[in-house]
Structure formats: structure tokens, C-alpha cells
Subunit: 311 residues, 2 copies
């Protein structure tokens, strides 16, 4: 069985949706907690214009700080949308570059000001530069399961983008359900089609829980042979440039589900729950995740903060 | 393919968890909305002692009112835990009797004051009486996937109860995840074992979303050949006699997921969403369901009340 890889994207996909700019020291603390938990990859932030997304203005500085005393084997990733972002990422020590283009024309225009094919072409160029610089690289198809503006996205458009990535030598490919439109039958179908294109492709998935299907979709992806998963602490998240966004699948809920099935027992779930609770406390509101509220299943009855028995 | 049957249990499993006693007229209005939506079975309430569960004190009267002018083919069900409940149910016109015993000794004692085997024995007696009276009957195994007090429940205990029900001629059997401990691999395994006992058994499932796995579990059950599903409007619910309870899978979210996959297009999802919104408005708090907040997927962009685009 392939090893399941967990990519924590709360720092990026989660925080970009928040009105509030989280101070660098707080972010750094959260990242260090995530490192301790034993997740495999942590997305530190994105390299976008600080005026457009002020929540991500300190991404470069965060990378510098984290790289300074780094001892763990965790991979620190950064999201890059254009050439300027790539430059910044190369300067500050990004270890894994995540780049993406949208399969939806409308989403692509709103998110990047470029058509889908133009964005794909430019992303491929940047991704190849990052590869040439010896970096890990992941390229994604955003809105791969549907678009909040356009509705359904033809499977063929997604497969065309995947084929273009593969042809360009980019083998770690993420299908992102940006708007949360995916449903399990579709997930199974689309991943089967991608593996048919190339059975050895490294596929990552990324699901939002807009319609309550996030966990069902991610577990379907797991069953379909996908082994890399992007999730967010406490279930934070959402794309600011789509409609009706909702959070990602919560990292601690996903790890909890995996551990119930006997997988990834090496991840420190208690640490992930503490992180999610810290995040919930910081924002002082109810978060979408479940397990940071209930405590993990095997400790029911001993968890502090659980609901009182109503009898 | 077997027809998927939807059993709305929000009026019982949902309301029993609420501090507030919902007035009879409000309940009646919600039931009539559910009838209009085209779900197949509606659980009107339970027959328990009005002092113990005052939220259910008007169950008899509700049945009488609903039966008076009933024209639809919807089946009106009632939950019965003992002989007195059966008597009351037979008097007021219950069409389908739901009876159950817990696979967990501790849960059984707390819920009924009887051991699991004693409760099972008595339930079987009542169920046979209801059958003899020409009624539809469903018998359930509560805490079939784990217990908030005892933790894991041996599959064998569940199968022993199922075998006892089958032997007694009771063929509609529900496995209830009272505490929300189920996970997809377990769901698949347990239902496979039940179908092995008797491939023609009519199996109902009932999942709570305590750890974020409710929808994943219900869709796994569907894939495993289960065709009867108990869900609650807006995702209300929880057993007052277990620990760390959470709501059921939301009826409108489940129907939404089914319709995305091309199933049960005959159910009026808009009506279910209106009902969930009315329920949320009545309780004036955030409800666990998703789709009544976002609107259904195929109408994204035209829904009123959706989140504003953040761009």
C-alpha cells in the first residue's frame, strides 16, 4: 500500500479567507505545532500581491524564519500563481512549489486575469523553472470538479490540463475541488480517468465541504488510489475568488478517520487537536471541524471539554 | 437497483435533544412540509413517558390529527420502547412501528433500565404483536457501531441480535450508530456480515455525525446494498442517553447528494431545504446541515441568502 501523505494547507487556504491578518508570530507557532504533529508537508503561505491578499504578506519572512533552525523532515510548501511569486519563493527557501491553473475560464479570469489555457501555459513554465532549480513541484487543476460561476466542468478539460502537465514532465498533480462541487461517484470516475492517462502519476486531492461531502469525497479519493491529501486545521478555508465557498476537510478529522482504519498511526492526533483548538480560540468562533470539539473516539469519556452527558 | 427509501426522523431523534418543547402546531406544520417533499416515511415521535421526554408528550395527538385527513402514501412511523408504548401506538394509528434495543449493556441500562438481552426479548415480543396487528415493523440494533460508554461493540453481539430478529420473523432491521462511532471500513464490513446472514434482509441505517463521518458512512452503506436511510431535517438529533452526541446526517444534504448521483430525483429538494430553514429559524441557531445554507448545487448563483462573492 502506498504511504498516505498529508499536506496541511490551513495556513494558506485557511487564512486567506479570514478578514483578520494573523500576526507572523502566531502563524509561526501554528506551523511549529503542525511540524510536531508529524504531518508531511505544510503550506506556509502564498506569494501573491500583499495588497490583494494582505493575510499572506509575510510569507517570505515566515519561510526565512522556519528554514533558519529547521531540523525535521517536514516539507515546507508555498503557493505561487505567477513568475514574480516564483522568484520570491526561490529567494526565501520554499522547498515545494505549488502552482495551479483553473479548469474554469471564469474562475481563471477572476483569480488571475488570464484565460485557463494562458494560465496553464505560464504555470507550466514556472513549474519547470522550479524543477530545474531542484525543488519539489506540484501543479494543480483548480475547479476540477465544478465551478461556482460556470457550474459543471467537463471532465475532458481537466484531463487535457493533466495531460499537458504530464507532457511537461510535471508528475505531482493536484485536482482541487475549489468550490466544493464534487460528489463521490464523480471523484471515483475522474481519478480513474486520470490514472488511465498515466498509472504512475502522483495525484493529490483537495476538497471543500460546501455541500457536506468533503469527508465522503476525500475517503473516496483514498479508495480510488489517491495518496496525497490537502486538508486544513479546524476545517478552515475557501477560495476568495469563487462563490459559496466553504472550508476544507479538517486535518484532524481526516487523520482521525485514517487512524480508525488503522492508517497513519504515526501522526500525533492529540497535537493536531490542540492546534485546531488554538486556532478556534484565536478566531473565537465555531469552526467546521468535529474532532477538535469532541475529542478523538478512543478517548471518549476521558476528554476534557466534551459535552456533558444529558441524562 | 433497489429503490432508495428515505425515513425522516427529525421530529423524533431531532426534537428529543432540544431543551424546548416544540408546540404541536409547529410540529404538524413541519410534518406536512416533509410529506409534501415526497420522503417515504416520517417518524412523528416516540411513545415514551411524557415526564421523561416531554418533547414527545403530544405524539398520540399528532398521529390522530395526521391520520384524520391523510391522503398521501407516506408512511407515518412511531418509536416504541416498551409494551405501554405499543398500546398507545396501536390506539392512535401508527402505521409503522420502530422498536429497538441496544447492543451495549451500559447504553441499554441507561436508556431502558433493562439488560441488552432482556430488552431484545421484550422488543421482539412487542414487534410480533405489531406485526400481528397488520402494522409495518422495523426493529433496530442501537449502538451497533460503538458505544459512548463502552467503546467498541463486538460485531458478534450485533449479529446475534440481528439473527434473533430474523428468527422471530422480523425482516426490516435497522443498524443505528447512536454515538456516531462508525467509520466507512467498519460500515462496509458490518453490512456485508449482515447480508451474509440473510441476503434478502431489509436493512436500514442511521448515522450520527459526531466525528464528521456521517455522510461518508451513509454513502458507504448505500454502496454496500443498504436501501433504507434514516436522516433528520437540518441535521438535528442525538440520543439523550449517550455521551458526546451529535446530529444525524441532514435529510436535505443526503437527498442533495443522491440527486447529484442521479438518484431520487422525485423528491422535492427545494421543499426539504425550506423545511430545514424553517427549523433553523425556529431554533434561531446554526444547524449542522450544509445545503439549507448554501442552496443546492444546480442553483448556485441564483439562490437567495447565499454568501456574497468576496472578490
Amino acid at each position: 500500500m502506498t504511504r498516505i501523505v498529508i499536506h496541511e494547507v490551513g495556513l494558506r487556504d485557511g487564512l486567506q479567507m479570514e478578514r483578520e491578518v494573523v500576526p507572523l508570530e502566531i502563524k509561526e507557532g501554528w506551523i511549529r505545532q503542525a511540524v510536531t504533529s508529524g504531518v508531511d508537508i505544510i503550506q506556509v503561505g502564498s506569494f501573491v500581491h500583499p495588497v490583494k491578499v494582505p493575510q499572506m504578506a509575510d510569507t517570505d519572512e515566515l519561510f526565512r524564519r522556519l528554514r533558519r533552525d529547521k531540523t525535521s523532515s517536514v516539507v515546507l510548501s508555498g503557493l505561487v500563481l505567477n513568475e514574480r511569486g516564483l522568484e520570491r519563493g526561490l529567494e526565501c527557501g520554499v522547498e515545494m512549489f505549488c502552482l495551479g491553473a483553473s479548469a474554469s475560464e471564469t474562475h481563471s479570469m477572476k483569480n488571475t486575469g488570464m484565460s485557463s489555457s494562458e494560465a496553464t501555459r505560464r504555470i507550466i513554465g514556472s513549474a519547470q523553472q522550479a524543477l530545474a532549480a531542484g525543488k519539489k513541484v506540484q501543479v494543480s487543476v483548480q475547479s476540477a470538479f465544478g465551478c461556482g460561476f460556470e457550474g459543471p466542468i467537463a471532465e475532458e478539460r481537466v484531463l487535457t490540463m493533466v495531460a499537458a502537465y504530464l507532457e511537461a514532465g510535471l508528475r505531482n498533480i493536484s485536482l482541487a475541488d475549489t468550490a466544493g462541487h464534487a460528489f463521490p461517484d464523480q471523484v471515483e470516475r475522474l481519478f480513474a480517468a486520470v490514472f488511465k492517462l498515466d498509472p504512475s502519476v502522483e495525484i493529490t486531492c483537495h476538497f471543500h465541504n460546501t455541500y457536506g461531502l468533503g469527508m465522503a469525497n476525500i475517503l473516496t479519493a483514498l479508495r480510488s488510489g489517491v495518496s496525497l491529501f490537502e486538508t486544513s486545521f479546524a476545517g478552515l478555508g475557501g477560495c476568495p475568488f469563487t462563490r459559496v465557498a466553504a472550508g476544507n476537510v479538517a486535518t484532524e478529522d481526516f487523520v482521525h478517520a485514517l487512524q480508525l482504519q488503522g492508517q497513519r498511526q504515526d501522526v500525533d492526533l492529540a497535537q493536531l487537536i490542540t492546534l485546531a483548538r488554538d486556532v478556534a480560540k484565536y478566531f473565537d468562533r465555531d469552526m467546521p471541524g468535529c474532532v477538535h470539539k469532541t475529542g478523538p473516539l478512543h478517548r471518549v469519556g476521558q476528554e476534557t471539554g466534551q459535552k456533558k452527558e444529558t441524562e
